[in-house]
């Protein structure tokens, strides 16, 4: 059910369309994968052509939200409470950016998410993220997600 919703949730909003985000896949463990295609419009340092940190952050914020809906098994109103992003290294221009995230814990009101961004090798990330999302409509009980 969520598999059919995810491509729409990944790209339908005006800002995600402007960012050119592309839905890639949903892994068995609930990890959602999005692609952020390289574009000159998203460069943060014109001398190097490296993508802006803010572009990496926007991709991670969005894929994190998708991972919460995946854990909830459907769309529900959520809002990002906070997000931490560590930038390990510059993304290699002109490689596309891949963002992936998994919601590893749900409580009645909060979803906890970890994710990363890479440019071809998930073991050599460009950035890692940790975020908490608030579920604005309360749920009955807490649950551990997936395996």
């Amino acid at each position: 059910m969520i598999e059919t919703l995810l491509p729409q949730l990944a790209t339908a909003a005006p800002h995600t369309a402007a960012l050119g985000l592309v839905y890639e896949r949903l892994a068995d463990d609930g990890t959602v994968v999005l692609k952020g295609p390289y574009s000159e419009a998203f460069i943060g340092d014109p001398r190097t052509g490296v993508l802006a940190g803010g572009y990496v952050t926007a991709l991670l914020d969005h894929v994190g939200g998708l991972s919460v809906w995946t854990a909830l098994k459907g769309y529900a109103p959520i809002a990002t409470l906070d997000m931490r992003v560590d930038y390990m290294r510059a993304a290699e221009p002109p490689r596309d950016l891949i963002g992936q995230a998994r919601c590893y814990r749900l409580t009645r009101s909060i979803a906890f998410v970890r994710g990363l961004a890479h440019d071809g090798d998930a073991d050599d990330p460009v950035a890692t993220m940790q975020a908490a999302y608030i579920l604005t409509a309360a749920r009955p009980e807490r649950e551990k997600v997936g395996a």
């Binding site: 909003a13 005006p14 460069i43 340092d45 906070d82 931490r84």
Partner: protein, 128 residues
């Protein structure tokens, strides 16, 4: 002239450096392409965070007179209120700039300076 004029992603977001009530601020004028939730409607959190990070970059470039653009090490953004479909402002303050690393605090708001929509803390590696 602002460093933002040279950063393609800042142009993509439509950012401008301005002075409002004697305070240096970064403005992200409302445009429909910034919307993340069309139902509320609300700006995408990624746009708000990116705008705040670039406000920190602009502040560092201005105050430290760096030729190179400082590289972000990490950041934490807290979303305090929903960002609605209107202009967004940010003010960045350098809380410490050492030889290699700077810590910058950024606050963003819309209609009411006293009701911030987001707060960001970031570390940057300063150009040698």
């Amino acid at each position: 002239m602002s460093v933002l004029d040279h950063i393609p992603y800042a142009r993509f977001l439509g950012l401008r450096a301005e002075t409002v009530d004697g305070e240096a601020v970064i403005v992200m004028p409302y445009q429909p392409s910034l919307i993340g939730n069309p139902m509320l409607p609300a700006l995408h959190g990624g746009a708000t965070a990116a705008m705040m990070e670039l406000a920190a970059v602009e502040r560092l470039a201005r105050d430290l007179e760096q030729a190179d653009i400082p590289k972000p090490i990490n950041l934490t953004v807290a979303y305090l209120r929903s960002a609605r479909d209107r202009d967004t402002y940010a003010h960045a303050r350098i809380s410490r700039a050492g030889r290699r690393v700077a810590n910058v605090l950024v606050e963003a708001w819309q209609d009411d300076r006293a009701a911030p929509i987001a707060a960001l803390t970031a570390h940057f590696l300063l150009p040698v």
